[in-house]
Amino acid sequence: MARSTNDEKQPGFIRRIWNAFWSPSGVLSLGFLIIAGFLAGILFWGGFHWALEETNNEEFCISCHTMSKNFDEYTETVHYNNHSGVRATCPDCHVPHEWQHKVKAKIMASKDLFHEIIGTIDTDEKYEEHRLHMASLVWEKMKKSDSRECRNCHAFEYMDFTIQETRAAKDHQLAIDEGKTCIDCHQGIAHGLPAGYLEEYRSIIEALESGEGVELQKSSLLDMGPATEALKSFLNGKTE
């Protein structure tokens, strides 16, 4: 057989992989490919879900230094310690159960890693400085979702007002009548409240009701003093 291919240029490694990937299988049956693909899918999806759940527990959340202060506050609340021993851990309140919303929350949590690295709230002073802003973000999210994460455990439909305190029963009935959501009254249920929180929460409600974007409290996490300047100069240096 003539070896005319000697004069032709051999395709590169990536091109050969690409061609092989899109070529029909000459040795494997359709059934084999379907079963193998199904098993590979189970392994991949199981592994992906397992990895996601590994980032969805209290140990993982508090492994960051910046989480120590709000975790300490949480340990003094009823969601950590109570007569029944039932607990709500970090992801129970901060990570939605529904797949779509959970993935979104995980993507958005990447900013927490960034701020952990640059130390935005690594001291008590910095934490207090940013507390209202951080709380505002959570309140806005909960208001917009109708306190979805609270309702994973709490539901008006199953509350027995006759065994609640009179004030609680009255306020819960009022909340049903006026269509309020959990976070409307229960800010600071698991973490300390910053000064001026009521005004801030009111401004969130007004902005949401008017359909405008929420203008959050001005101590934005994007304004991080020296860290911002360092980041800006780094980026400028890259682009110049």
């Binding site: 899109w22 029909p24 529904e98 797949w99 779509q100 919303h101 959970k102 993935v103 979104k104 929350a105 995980k106 993507i107 958005m108 990447s110 900013k111 973000l137 109708d146 994007l222």
Partner: protein, 88 residues
Amino acid sequence: MLNMLDILGTIAGNVLSLPGILGLALGMMTRNLLVAAILGGLVGVAEPFIFAGFDASKVETIDLVIAIAVGVVAGCIGRAIRVKGATV
């Protein structure tokens, strides 16, 4: 920055949810680009309503738009896979 993360998170959620996966699968069932895009788009329309418990008032416009866009793109990619990887 937060709004950008919000949008990226919504896109990622849709890629790994019904519009991305079912849209891709439906796109792989046809060689017609328009049909693939429409099938993906329909999944994109349905998905936010399913997650909102079929309560239209809980569906945000931006979520709906992103879901449809992801569905359409996934459908088109599925169609491209069909054309490239199948002889029928």
